[in-house]
Subunit: 345 residues, 2 copies
């Protein structure tokens, strides 16, 4: 079959690889109907050394179950399914608490031995815990929106849930990528009174306004901080949803959070150390939370909103490519030509 491999920064290829097969009795093989390129794929695309490649790419997909192992009980061949960006057994203590990204038996698709979603098919480990059945058929016009349950919608929602967004709160969102925009939509779902979106790509922030942003701040750095403070009567936002992962986004968040407020991060941090002392988090009693979203935990919560059209998260996709077009899709996202690229094998 055809699959996407990254050989090094900037070097993505569509190649022929062996078809996936069942390796364990808890596996399923899924024929992929829709997948996509993630903003987080751009981090290795910018910096991966050749020694780490070639790596199978893609961690978001919809598909049809083709074959299941002897121990799989919750999905059958023919089922239309969505997979979250982490696989998990669904039964360990952490899974039961809804933290599937820390599953004792689970992991991520980019780990050695795993396969990628930007491909024609994939072996899914721990299929019972990982896959969620979807209603309807693969021909649904909702496919792009359903695919966001894999990662970007669930990740934006995780930011808002961890930040304890609730009615009456002022929320600021740092980043106008797909996750930032769906963090806006999630903050609205949770009842935020005011949602300030920080981003400078008008086509993106326009979509953010459609998703529920009440204000847009295009300025960055000190100027952006000033602007958010002005908009919030000098106080700052109760909750800051940080959907970038770069260090300047962390500093931005520190600058605009209200005393006693929360910074909730879902952008994968590209830094390890950062200020947490009296002059940053501690003095004003600011809470820092977030992490990789256990999107598996949110599928059942968010699916009804997608099905009834309350939210149309599929709007974050502004380009579609076939598998052979994936390398150009990476380029287009890296060049900020495309917000998020859908892949239809």
């Amino acid at each position: 079959m055809r699959a996407t491999l990254m050989y090094a920064a900037g070097d993505v290829r569509t190649e022929t690889v062996p078809d996936p097969t069942l390796e364990r009795p808890t596996d399923a093989v899924v024929r992929i109907t829709t997948s996509c390129i993630c903003g987080s794929d751009l981090w290795p695309y910018a910096s991966m050394p050749a020694s780490d490649g070639p790596a199978r790419m893609g961690h978001e997909f919809l598909g049809v179950v083709e074959e299941v192992g002897a121990e799989v009980t919750t999905v059958r061949p023919g089922d239309f399914v969505v997979a979250p960006f982490a696989y998990s057994d669904g039964t360990c203590a952490l899974c039961r608490e809804g933290l599937q990204t820390s599953c004792v038996y689970g992991g991520f698709w980019d780990e050695p031995g795993q396969q990628g979603g930007q491909a024609e098919a994939i072996r899914v480990p721990l299929a019972d815990g990982t896959l969620a059945k979807l209603p309807g058929g693969t021909d649904t016009a909702l496919a792009p929106s359903l695919l966001t349950l894999s990662d970007v919608f669930g990740t934006g929602y995780h930011a808002a849930v961890q930040g304890r967004v609730e009615p009456g709160k002022t929320v600021a969102v740092v980043g106008d990528g797909a996750v930032g925009l769906l963090a806006v939509a999630s903050a609205k779902l949770l009842g935020a009174e005011r949602i300030v979106l920080m981003g400078r790509h008008t086509t993106r922030t326009d979509l953010g306004v459609e998703f529920g942003a009440t204000d847009v701040v295009a300025e960055r750095g000190e100027e952006g901080i000033e602007r958010v403070r002005e908009l919030t009567g000098g106080e700052g936002a109760h909750v800051v949803l940080e959907a970038v992962g770069a260090r300047p986004a962390y500093d931005q968040a520190l600058g605009i959070v209200r005393p006693g407020g929360t910074i909730s991060r879902v952008g994968v941090p590209q830094y390890e150390d950062a200020p947490v002392g009296f002059g940053s988090l501690f003095g004003p009693n600011v809470t820092l939370t977030g992490g990789p979203a256990p999107t598996r935990a949110y599928i059942e919560t968010l699916l009804p909103h997608v099905l009834d059209g309350t939210v149309d998260p599929g709007k974050v996709f502004d380009r579609t490519v076939a598998l052979d077009g994936v390398p150009d899709g990476y380029r287009a996202m890296a060049d900020r030509e495309a917000l998020k690229v859908l892949v239809t094998p």
Copy 2:
């Protein structure tokens, strides 16, 4: 009157200073009946340069109101009162939300122009917001326990509240100082199922057990982390209350917190940067919270527990000195001879 001044690290003196007077219509003058030395006073005692001195010391006191300014309405001369370690107006948006340490008009006793509690009397700014009336007279045997409402009990309680300790949770407390021990008592008040106290001074950890610790871990560093992990079935604690403020305590907390858990800090951080990235907080979805405790917010909640004897927080005091004995009190606490020193002017 007599008051305590710190001239530099290791140099504390009891000296004669001018009597306090009303400076603003919102001030009160309080005759101090009981005060104490704080674990946080030991940070400047270890490192304050002479250029920062002489500084008036002490931020915890009980006393009797002697005089009030024209605009003070909630306390009258003769009232027995307790003051938190931060003064605040009690009416700004942040005070109304219970975050008096971030009061727009407030501040801390060690700021320029303010006076200290290790003295015979003190000028209290914003008396209406700052002072809390206490029942009974100054001769009460409960004075040491009431005094802990100024700081250490409220601070331990803040750690537990911010960490969202609740029934069924496993809590680990890093630090066996007065705040750590009262964080244990607070975790018990909030219903924690298991409370692991990390500390290596037996007389202190014994008091911790009396306050509710179910396990004591004397080991530190990697060994201490291993021990806590063993005690928690390999998982770590749901909530870690960090009551030290030194960087190794932060690292300890990272090592023993469960995925999805919370580190709540109330030890004043003696560092600014620390790990917060994928390998520390982000990957396991750990929340970092805490800060200077708005102890004013907790006085009404904790007072009944002190009055009815549910908790006897005054047990953290193991030595009493008069004002002239304060310099030796600092030495005794710094040498770990005394846990916490009561001062009776």
